[in-house]
């Protein structure tokens, strides 16, 4: 099927193109971008006047829960949520059951993704077998099976030598380590940011230093042994400073943050709102500013969702017992546009962090609107105001602290590989 998207504002961060033009999708790739592309026979037409046309977003960090936790999310439900949210490629973390520490689990996930036929799914293998932090996973096998990175996300790698070796060994297979930086000996039994709100609520806190301490260790390893790491879900000003300095030194460190870290602070937990229980925790208002500054100056090159869907029963409990995590695929775009609206980031910069940057860092196809590129394209109504209603999510995870929030910006159409997979009016169209 051919698609002609007419008259939209084409925004392509990779080339810097920002103009009203047409774009033709044919045979799974972008056939052309230009003024007044002539309608070819049999092409579906999308009238995009007044709308944004962007490369499909690439989410470097999400949890699809399958295999093992299908009651929270499946690859299919997660992929549906992704394309509804404008995300055409997702990297899914390895903390499934069994853990994705071998080719069979990777193949299973890819099978499920192919069945769903929605977003492109790139599995992330675990750093250590069973995510136990003890011995390295079979990374060669993981890479051969289709993993694009390794991470024990959800757990840190407490053993410094294992982390050192993981950084070195993974490079042999074109993989890189995504670092969930958390020093558990500092984080203890904390359930939220340690500060005046945890004091007021009588909840155990997670000090800021829990993240920075382990991150500093890993940066020291890079400095001595070389290699690269990507730091997941940066949430504090101190972490941004650390990463900024490491990058200035020339170390190969990249970093991501998530919409909730530039939108909410610790006060979201007041009232014991378990939907705001997330790891790393929502930090201070100053940390939010620090993260935004890190995005603005390029220290943080990527925005990712850390989509962590949970069943309602896992959130509808005492705060201490509630699961950590936010279901983020379907709010990411609007929250990103919210940051743009506040004037903190240009539209182009914001989508650079959702497209060309993650594609470059993770070595993934897509993220560009140029002839010959995969036809992963989204059409966005940036002005459309809507209210976040978790009941309308395609994700099984309705755990969001943004419930009831008025936001702006909604996906009208999503194309993956030249197929329309989502339409705002019709829903999933495949």
């Amino acid at each position: 099927m051919k698609w002609l998207i007419k008259g939209g504002r084409i925004l392509d961060p990779a080339s810097g193109r920002d103009e009203v033009a047409d774009i033709l999708l044919e045979d799974g790739v972008i056939a052309g971008v230009g003024k007044q592309i002539v309608e070819s026979r049999g092409a579906g037409k999308v009238q995009a006047k007044g709308l944004l046309v962007l490369p499909g977003m690439l989410d470097m960090h999400c949890h699809l829960r399958e295999p093992g936790f299908e009651y929270k999310e499946t690859v299919a439900s997660g992929a549906a949520a992704a394309v509804k949210g404008g995300i055409t490629s997702v990297m899914c973390m390895a903390n499934t059951n069994p853990v994705n520490d071998g080719a069979s689990v990777t193949a299973y996930i890819l099978d499920k993704a192919a069945d769903a036929g929605l977003a492109r799914v790139y599995p992330v293998g675990s750093v250590t077998k069973g995510m136990k932090g003890e011995s390295l996973s079979e990374m060669g096998e993981l890479a051969a099976a289709g993993c694009v990175a390794v991470s024990d996300d959800g757990h840190p790698v407490p053993n410094g030598e294992i982390m050192r070796r993981a950084i070195q060994y993974s490079a042999a297979f074109g993989l890189f380590v995504i670092d969930h930086a958390e020093d558990l000996s500092i984080a203890g039994e904390g359930v939220m940011h340690e500060g005046y709100v945890s004091t007021m609520l009588g909840l155990e806190g997670i000090p800021t230093s829990a993240a920075v301490s382990e991150m500093a260790r890993n940066i020291a390893l890079l400095r001595e042994f070389g290699g690269r790491i990507h730091i997941a879900h940066v949430s504090t000003r101190s972490a941004v400073d650390l990463i900024r300095n490491a990058r200035a030194e020339g170390l190969d460190v990249t970093a991501e943050t998530c919409p909730h870290y530039f939108t909410l602070d610790q006060e979201a937990v007041i009232g014991y709102d378990t939907s705001a229980k997330v790891k790393p925790p929502l930090r201070t208002a100053d940390d939010v500013q620090g993260v935004i500054e890190g995005l603005a100056d390029g220290t943080i090159e990527v925005i990712a969702t850390d989509h962590a869907p949970h069943h309602a029963d896992e959130k509808d409990v005492e705060f201490d017992l509630a699961a950590f995590g936010i279901s983020g695929l379907e709010t990411a775009l609007a929250l990103t546009l919210g940051l743009v609206e506040k004037g903190r980031l240009s539209l182009m910069d914001a989508f650079t962090k959702w497209t060309v940057n993650p594609a470059r860092i993770a070595g993934l196809p897509g993220g560009r609107l140029e002839a010959g590129q995969p036809a992963d394209v989204i059409v966005v109504d940036a002005d459309r105001e809507w209210t976040v209603d978790p009941a309308a999510f395609l994700s099984k995870g309705r755990n969001t602290p943004f419930r009831g929030m008025k936001v702006r910006g909604q996906v009208v159409n999503t194309f993956v590989g030249g197929n329309m997979v989502f339409d705002r009016a019709k829903g999933i169209t495949r």
Partner: protein, 311 residues
């Protein structure tokens, strides 16, 4: 109603007038408790369920006696004998109890915010009898009552709370209650037990234990709980007693008519020496007596009591 709520979850949302109303109601209740026949029919036909998910004898007994003195039917539900160990969620457990149509459930739970979560889902009134490290409002109120009874007024008093502030629900309710009534509240203890940002709640951190006690009108000593990762917080009880315990020598720094209080149970020789606990400044047992009166007042006000208390 207490304040604008049919629940009593904490003292943070209450104005001085709301607190005073409870204290005033408790005055009559104390009088009832001192009668020969310690019972009035005020809450006849009402059902109060004590739901204790954490062991407690004194608070539960205090609520039970309070309910019975008002002629309410008091039922105790203890977690160890309940289905919570069978994997039933807290909400399910409490919903089951609610189906039996109690008027008030009094809840003690090990996790902060547990009663807050339940209050949104129940038609009956919820009284927080202590939730994790969060609040213990009936204790806060009985502390206010005891001090008001002794001092006449709370305004301008120097109140110092000493011990593990981080993990104390009593401290939080006391800080809100005393500051709202116009007292100046200081907290003190080992630095490992002072939580960040406590100033946001209206308390000041005393530069030292001694500085805190100096000129104090009220000293509230908190029980040191050994079970809480205490190895990382304090080296041991012997050292705690020596540097952070209340003894006769330190007490001399306070005002002559200082009141020494403790929510109980006390660890003699640890946070408080026996001579102080049993000394003339100690009002620890009066706190317990007042606890019944204050809890009667709480139940009475939540059950919509506008009738005369005395028959």
């Amino acid at each position: 109603m207490i304040g604008k709520s049919r629940h009593l979850l904490g003292l943070d949302g209450l104005a001085a007038a709301d607190l005073t109303r409870v204290l005033d109601a408790a005055v009559g209740m104390k009088e009832v408790s001192r009668r020969k026949i310690k019972k009035v029919p005020t809450l006849r036909g009402k059902t109060v369920v004590n739901l204790f998910f954490e062991p407690s004898t004194r608070t539960r007994t205090s609520f039970e006696i309070a309910a019975k003195r008002l002629s309410a039917d008091a039922v105790n539900f203890t977690a160890s004998a309940s289905s919570t160990v069978k994997g039933e969620t807290l909400i399910d457990t409490v919903k089951n109890i609610e189906s039996m149509a109690p008027d008030v459930v009094v809840i003690r739970h090990k996790y902060s915010g547990a009663t807050h979560m339940l209050s949104d889902r129940l038609r009956c009134s919820v009284v927080n009898a202590g939730d994790g490290s969060n609040q213990h409002p009936s204790q806060g109120l009985l502390d206010l009552y005891t001090v008001r009874e002794k001092k006449g007024n709370l305004k301008g008093l120097k109140v110092v709370i000493a011990g593990d502030i981080t993990h104390s629900r009593v401290a939080r309710s006391d800080i809100y209650g005393f500051t709202r009534m116009g007292a100046e509240v200081f907290v003190t203890g080992p630095p490992t037990m002072i939580p960040p940002g406590i100033e946001h709640m209206g308390a000041k951190v005393a530069p030292s234990f001694e500085a805190g006690i100096e000129g104090a009108d009220v000293i509230i000593m908190l029980r040191i709980q050994l079970e809480r990762r205490s190895g990382a917080l304090i080296p041991g009880l012997r050292e705690y007693a020596r540097f952070f315990g209340l003894n006769a020598q330190r007490l001399k720094l306070a005002k002559e008519d200082v009141l020494v209080m403790h929510p109980g149970p006390i660890n003699r020789g640890v946070e408080i020496s026996s001579e102080i606990a049993d000394g003339i400044q100690s009002v620890i047992l009066e706190q317990v007596e007042n606890g019944v009166a204050v809890r009667m007042a709480i139940l009475y006000l939540l059950c919509g009591g506008t009738d005369e208390v005395a028959d």
